[in-house]
Amino acid sequence: MKTFIPAEYEVVRDFNLCTACRLCENQCANGVHSYDEKRGVMVADSLQCVNCHRCVCVCPTHALKIAKSADCYRPNENWSSQTMNEVYRQAETGGVLLSSMGNPGKYPVYFDKLLVNASQVTNPPIDPLREPMETRVFLGKKDVEIKRDISGRLIDTMPPQLNLKLPVMFSAMSYGSISYNAHEALARAAEICGTFYNTGEGGLHRDFYKYSKNTIVQVASGRFGVHSEYLSAAAAIEIKMGQGAKPGIGGHLPGMKISDDVSRTRMIPKGVDAISPAPHHDIYSIEDLRQLIYTIKEATDYSKPVIVKIAAVHNVAAIASGVARSGADIIAIDGFRGGTGASPTRIRDNVGIPVELALAQVDERLRQEGIRDCVSIIVGGSVRSSADVVKAVALGADACYIGTAALLALGCHLCRSCHTGKCNWGIATQREDLVKRLNPDEGCKRLVNLLSAWNLEIQEMMGGMGINSIEALRGNRLMLRGVGLNETELRILGVRHAGENV
């Protein structure tokens, strides 16, 4: 028996418009389009289509569209076509299903159930076009001792801080999972915007050391690409303990994405799947984490903040509290909708919790224990717009990480096929012909545009609330109200329901 799985999408071509220029054929790494010489027309094999929209976007006559296939199994609320197909696929291969990008499932998005306040009558809104509106953030420990010199002047005793012009950074995406050109665009945009990008666990390419002032380097369980120069170059060092897309497991870079350059940067063999271990094998408990944090601090002379990235799981508040007591300067919480270059489907779709709930609980717990000042909090997975940033900050975050949104700015159309390594947009691929489609100059400009636009929007929303500095928004939960949330959800988020007075 041979399994046949019908195409999920259909390539629809308007033959009145198609000139058979074959650009679609040229642009599709999945081999969907071809030219039928005999009939003199373009044909498409929809079975190969991942719906990345590359052909639709480049078609000079707009002759193409991708439609959801009308082919269907007998409708069943319990057994969806996707569930059935997955069973067929596994029965055929005996393998673990792989997926990419964030959990696409039908779970509540709490950001969409939170509404923001505005000022009127009793206090004025502030006009960001006419008044200064500050979005600068410093990340790091704040619990300083006040010390003075003999003449009574204050001494700056702040531990190392990251200085961000706006509360948004690019989250960890490794070189290997994404391309050289994508990394270059991220690095340059971070430099121009006064923020940071993150190497992920893929090491730092030689060419990008020049952006190191805006680079956060990651130390993950595989320790790929970690060496003393790498640590010294960075603005901050992130220990990756967990990832929202796949809590409980390590990273997975398929072998076909490990090119010469990636192999050199990661210090691993070429062409072989790179699977980093689920735990750090030198961290089996919180006291071990403390040792790694201080090892890194010793190695870098206590000159850089250390970030500990954790996945949002059920006991995230207790974990964060432990991390805050272990010397970390910053905690990054990654929600279950966070993206990935490759993850087992079952884990991506079923493990972890929404970042909004995790953030609310972590912030509250750290406050209850009087240690909120010991750390800054970054959240990601998934922050989709400036409104999400504003809501996250009001819930208690110091800053946000964006990954998927940054990739969208670079052209990604969320086909969620990164693990195949055939990204037609030149982002999640190492194939040279595909990589060169992403122009770093253009990519950088689009990322800068995105962050600038978000910053303007954040300022508008802050001004409306009568707040002229992002610090006064952080943890300011009275600025939020929930809609359509039950008592438990409201309690966990620490916000009141819309319509309820203060």
Binding site: T122, N123, F138, K142, G370
Partner: protein, 376 residues
Amino acid sequence: MILNDLELKTSPAEGEVRIPSGCAISAVIDRSGKRMTGEKIIRSIATMHDRSNGLGGGFAGYGIYPDYKEYYAFHLFYNDFYSKKQTEDFLIQHFEIVYSSEMKTRKLKKITNEPLIYRYFLYPLSKRLANSLMDEERYVVKCVNKINAEIDGAFVFSSGKNMGVFKGVGYPEDIGKFYLLDEEYSGYSWTAHGRYPTNTPGWWGGAHPFGLLDYSVVHNGEISSYDANRRYIETFGYKCSLQTDTEVITYVIDFLIRVKKLTLQEVAKVISASFWSTIEDKPEEERYEETFLRKAFPSLLITGPFSIIFGFTGGLMALNDRLKLRSMVCAEKGDLAYISSEECGIRVIEPELERVFAPAGGQPVIYTLKDGGNRQ
């Protein structure tokens, strides 16, 4: 003198909801330490009658209890004799009460529904204090918080040495006369507050100034950073039970001065910090200091409109929000210095002034006694 308990409660009580208020504030200090009655400050705040709506008024006077200046002066509201009995039992267990009496008041038609008002001069029992392992001020604050949180119907609204807060529901000028501030008390400095709340809680404890030991704050504005400030300061053991700006501002100032040992100038640079762009243009030394303070205390930056007068033993500080979204004027003549929401509040008591100015947003104006606070 018993609270009218026949009225049914229709609106939420103070502390159950957050009540935005518009207001008038005013203050006067004689920097030579010479004492004056409350007559001037009453006239000053009365001129700004329209900035209040009769739902709260109050005063703080400094240097008013010279005969008892070594003792904490507790002013208390009681709803009934039961809460008074409970409170006095508590006080006796924790303090030596040197003198206590009912507060002398003048019956006025416009002031109704007043609670029982009592005053105690006291100092901590030395053994209790020693066993608590706290310093004296912390011990007193803890006791005040305990009474206010746990004894239903009792509220300590003043707890400093040689100073007192007087407040209630009504127009401030009537409250001033009710407490006989124009006859019975003289102090070297006075602050006043007229409240324009948007709700009608009608609770005397909700009027301002808000006092904490010898600190008192009167405030006009509605801060937009409230919940950020509140949630931060509560991590240090403060409890914002009244949900008012004035309460949280008082705690913030108390924390920065008493716990972090910052100077008043430095406090101003935390709560009403200069914009980063302004800081960048400052001389090296100031830039260094202000950058440090903003980095160290980001959650204590207060945004949105406010004008506050912070009263303390030996002086006053006036401070506006960084954008100056509320009016506030300062003036001087000889040893006398004045602060008011409107210039008329100053001119009415001193028409001939040597200097009148509106302090810029975030620019603190600090007036202290000439002998450095070592007054009569």
